[in-house]
């Protein structure tokens, strides 16, 4: 049976992890490669590396980093942040990334999804959606949640699915950083509406939250950052717990 996936997310700035300084037993806690290897050893199923650098120099550093990650990590990894056009995708896949995650650029120019799927295959194209629940429903946001758009979550996710996205990575801005659980209702609605896997993001604070995302939210994968980086939830323990709760995970 296909396993539900646990995905640590690492934010990268100028080649170093931004969070994750509390990780023990690492010579270089800030080194994204060392951190990724540690997660892989613990049983992470995939990794996501998000480049939050804005400068051109930073982009070059990130590409070099992706090469090092590809050389050393033996599980699949996705890279995202600052992917605006097909040449960015080409550069990162050539550096050894397995998948790329596109967010604002796809919302501004949905054709980018078709182009990525056509040139590199749907399986490399993760469409990340930042959305917030408003009195008018779930609205999509641009630029890391700074600019509200009129696009609705389900409608945009369906369009991305239709254009050839391989997965949807949905972050609830209402839940992100609050540690009260994932946006399970919206997740379940997405999962029912789409024919591609849905990755839950935003809100993990306890092991129960992961269980709820998989059972109530019908998510295929759950992504988290701080609970892993600060050692609050060790991945081996989380997986044993999920297994006990009847969820199929890779042990």
């Amino acid at each position: 049976m296909l396993a539900k996936r646990i995905i640590p997310c690492l934010d990268i700035k100028d080649g170093q992890t931004v969070k994750g300084t509390n990780f023990v037993n690492l010579r270089q806690a800030g080194d994204p490669v060392e951190l990724g290897k540690a997660y892989s050893r613990q049983g992470a199923d995939e990794l996501v590396y998000l480049d939050i650098t804005a400068s051109h120099e930073g982009r070059k550093t990130f590409t070099e980093l992706v090469k090092r990650i590809a050389a050393e990590i033996d599980i699949p990894f996705t890279v995202g942040g600052g992917i605006n056009e097909l040449s960015d995708v080409d550069r990162l896949l050539n550096a050894g990334a397995d998948k790329v995650s596109v967010n604002s650029a796809a919302l501004r120019n949905p054709q980018l999804i078709d182009d990525i799927a056509k040139h590199f295959g749907s399986q490399v194209c993760v469409v990340a959606i930042d959305a917030r629940q408003t009195p008018q429903g779930w609205k999509c946001y641009l630029n890391g949640g700074r600019i509200e758009t009129e696009r609705r979550l389900i409608e945009w996710a369906r369009e991305a699915n239709g254009r050839g996205a391989g997965e949807i990575l949905f972050t609830s801005m209402n839940h992100d950083g609050v540690k009260t659980g994932y946006a399970n209702e919206a997740l379940a609605e997405l999962s029912d509406a789409l024919t591609i896997p849905v990755i839950a993001s935003g809100g993990a604070g306890s092991m129960e939250h992961f269980r709820d995302a998989f059972i109530r939210g019908k998510a295929d994968a759950a992504l988290a950052a701080s609970v892993f980086h600060f050692g609050e939830i060790p991945i081996p323990e989380l997986k044993r717990y999920l297994c006990k709760e009847g969820i199929n995970v890779r042990l």
């Binding site: 049976m1 296909l2 199923d45 050389a71 033996d74 599980i75 024919t195 896997p197 295929d220 890779r250």
Partner: protein, 196 residues
């Protein structure tokens, strides 16, 4: 030992190259026919589309070369599918090492998402690739087309239906999953191949 990775118009060649280097091998990524023919082990990787890739292989004479290889060959993902006789993907005639067809997954329920992507278990392992496997182990898959269970099946996986996770015939070995992305389990499979 000389390990050659067949270079062609497909993605994912770097991952295989890196994985072998992690195991201490020094693979050569090449489309040079002499190097490929004289290598001790040949790996035929691949992510891509069947028909386009077959056209490319034929145009470069690599189709005949692969069919005539006598040393252990490992086809991975699309590489495995291209070793079969034909594929529904682009209605392509393939290399015909394994006399079987490649079919597209047909979802039966809403939960049956295509591509089959993620970690799944392999069962009924029956090849030296899986030497030392005591239990069902998880490996990483990404594919929309599958090879039905047949006389050459060397491992099975269940997704929508039981299908061939691995094939073996004579010197040809193949996996539908990506050993180079399958953590420690994958590393053991690649090591077993290198030790054949």
């Amino acid at each position: 030992m000389k390990v050659a990775i067949i270079k062609y118009n497909a993605g994912n060649i770097f991952s295989v190259d890196y994985a072998l280097k992690r195991l201490g091998a020094e693979p050569i990524v090449t489309d040079d026919k002499e190097i490929l023919s004289s290598a001790d082990k040949v790996i035929f990787p691949g992510v891509g589309e069947a028909e386009t890739t077959m056209k490319h292989l034929r145009a470069n004479g690599l189709d005949k070369l692969i069919k005539n290889l006598k040393q252990p060959v490992l086809g991975i993902c699309l590489g495995m599918q291209l070793l079969c006789s034909r594929s529904e993907e682009g209605d392509a005639d393939c290399l015909g090492i394994f006399d079987t067809e490649v079919k597209r997954f047909c979802p039966q329920r809403h939960e049956d998402k295509v591509p089959h992507m993620g970690w799944n278990t392999i069962s009924n392992t029956n090849s030296r690739l899986f030497e030392g496997f005591a239990k069902e182990e998880f490996v990483y898959f990404v594919h929309s087309y599958y090879v039905p269970v047949n006389a050459y099946t060397a491992a099975t996986t269940d997704y929508i239906l039981p299908f061939s996770a691995a094939l073996h015939k004579d010197n040809f070995y193949a996996t539908q999953f990506h050993p180079e992305k399958s953590g420690e389990t994958g590393a053991r499979i690649l090591t077993n191949f290198l030790n054949l």
